[in-house]
């Protein structure tokens, strides 16, 4: 199977357009719901034939839903390692589903990708449905996720317990099965060294943070994924509202930090950010983390109106398409680290030259 994502609007990344509220600080808002079908062992425990039957039933049910009727099915178990990495770089599949280090993924693993929603099948739970929205829009993501879940639940018997709620493979997800998260860019708080306090505060508020790629990923480029930690004992609305309230506060702290930076360290910060831009514009080799950190600087500069003529949309694209699996796909072959660094610099240079009107 060759991976063709060209049919998907925005390549399966509705958040990339940067059209949502606070898009310069919040890249995306996501709501994920974990569900299982009753009558089958959970995916890790199920046999090959059972997982294929789960996939079959889910496909049929999804075809009748408003959000996934025209979705594209990608059989993750038929993809190469490189293709699975690519989907992971687009946040379309989790690390668990992609099995990034294994030669093949678990049989029956798949993802249905629609315009506004995606549905992972045979992850650690049979169903992991997720809705991404551009910018800060938890409510919009929850509304669509709830609609899709309702439609699927009317067609598929979901595993539900009168006391524990929706049953999941790992009890950390049981109850609502809901994980709401926002991907935020907080360079102002990092530079003013306020970030430690903010992160501690998040944990005291029952929230947790991770890096750009969720569980187990490191924080690079000042990108933080903030999400609810618990899923049981509160309603879906309460979980979403609580996260939204706290994140709204984080956004205002970040804006304040940026004001302080331009007031107290105006020329220093301006110089630092233009240097980041200059490196991206002209470097001949860029490491993955290095590019991420420089892009963070340029994103901050755009947010502070120091650099004009560059859109957040372009920055979002650079963030995704400058990653290793995307560069490999563009070059049409697997790349060594050195080759990837050269290809990354070439790609970023090209995009920025076009934006600057020089190409």
């Amino acid at each position: 199977m060759t991976l063709d994502l060209s049919l998907l609007p925005d390549g399966g990344m509705p958040w990339i357009t940067a059209s949502g509220p606070h898009a310069d600080i919040v890249l995306s808002s996501r709501v994920r719901l974990a569900r299982n079908l009753s009558g089958f062992p959970f995916s890790p425990r199920a046999g090959d034939a059972e997982r294929l039957r789960v996939l079959h039933q889910v496909r049929e049910a999804a075809a009748d839903t408003a959000l996934l009727s025209r979705a594209i099915l990608l059989r993750v178990d038929e993809l190469t390692t490189g293709e699975r990495h690519l989907l992971h770089e687009r946040h379309l599949v989790s690390r668990e589903l992609a099995e990034l280090d294994a030669p093949t993924a678990r049989s029956g693993s798949a993802v249905l990708v629609g315009d506004e929603a995606a549905l992972m099948v045979n992850e650690e739970d049979h169903l992991r449905l997720q809705v991404f929205r551009s910018g800060f829009d938890i409510a919009g993501a929850w509304e669509r996720a709830a609609q899709l879940e309702r439609e699927l639940g009317e067609r598929l018997p979901l595993a539900y317990h009168h006391e524990f709620g929706f049953l999941t493979s790992c009890p950390t997800n049981v109850g609502t099965g809901l994980r709401a998260s926002v991907l935020v860019h907080l360079p102002g708080l990092v530079l003013t060294q306020e970030i430690g306090k903010v992160l501690t505060g998040l944990q005291q508020m029952g929230l947790t943070y991770r890096g750009l790629y969720g569980e187990g990923s490191e924080v690079v480029g000042n990108f933080f994924q903030i999400s609810n930690q618990t899923t049981l004992g509160r309603t879906e609305d309460e979980l979403c509202d609580h996260l939204a309230r706290v994140v709204a506060h984080v956004i205002s702290r970040e804006s304040e930090a940026r004001r302080v930076l331009s007031r107290d360290a105006g020329y220093i910060i301006e110089d630092k950010l233009w240097r980041a831009y200059g490196t991206l514009r002209y470097a001949r080799s860029l490491g993955a983390d290095e590019a991420m950190n420089l892009l963070s600087g340029v994103r901050l500069a755009v947010g502070m109106y120091l650099i004009g003529g560059l859109s957040v949309y372009t920055l979002n694209k650079l963030l995704v398409f400058s990653q290793a699996a995307h560069l490999s796909l563009a070059e049409g072959r697997p790349l060594t680290e050195i080759e990837a660094n050269l290809a990354r610099a070439r790609y970023v240079r090209g995009v920025l030259a076009v934006e600057a009107g020089e190409a």
Binding site: N36, S38, G39, F40, P41, F42, P44, R45, G47, A49, E50, E124, A146, G153, E154, R155, L156, P157, L158, A159, Y160, H161, E163, F164, G165, F166, L167, S169, C170, P171, T172, V174, G175, T176, L178, Q203, T208, R210, E215, G216, Q229, T230, T231, L232, G233, R234, T235, E236
Partner: protein
């Protein structure tokens, strides 16, 4: 439990030493353990699964309960304690008591307050039988005879 060395702080490191077939157990606090050069970086993981497994392990005094198995998928409480994952929806009923306590620790609550759900109507007993029969066929086809025997017993019980 107090530290065997200083008798002041709580012991957090439990060391089993075997010297010439003589087994000794040493319980130390973090400070005394560090003084003895024993690695004590038992950093608390900050993701929910980590917290959860930590809670699971704290409870993991081996007991007869560990041998309890879920009749549907054969996962035992011990398997769950090792992996942090349940095997199927029925595990929640099989290990209900132990889970309730763990859920309270992890989520601060053990009762669902979100959306309620009713599955689309099908006779549950019939589907259960149907599913068991299908699983039996698959088990036989895959030559998993031990599983097949268990499934056959379950089918008989339901019939």
């Amino acid at each position: 439990m107090l530290c065997d060395q200083c008798r002041e702080r709580d012991a957090v490191v439990h060391l089993t030493q075997i010297v010439e077939s003589e087994v000794t157990q040493l319980h130390l606090c973090e400070k005394c353990a560090a003084a003895k050069g024993i690695e004590t970086t038992v950093a608390m993981p900050k993701h929910p699964l980590g917290d959860f497994l930590h809670a699971v392990q704290q409870q993991a005094s081996p007991s007869a309960g560990d041998q309890v198995r879920c009749a549907y998928c054969q996962t035992s409480l011990r398997d769950f304690r090792a992996s942090g994952r349940l095997g199927c929806a029925q595990c929640y009923t099989a290990f209900e008591g132990a889970l309730r306590e763990l859920l309270r620790r992890v989520h601060g609550a053990a009762r669902h307050r979100g959306h309620e759900y009713e599955a689309p109507a099908v006779s549950s007993e019939e589907t259960a039988l149907e599913q068991l029969r299908e699983r039996l066929q698959q088990a036989v086809a895959a030559e998993e005879f031990e599983l097949a025997a268990t499934l056959r017993d379950q089918i008989r019980a339901l019939e």
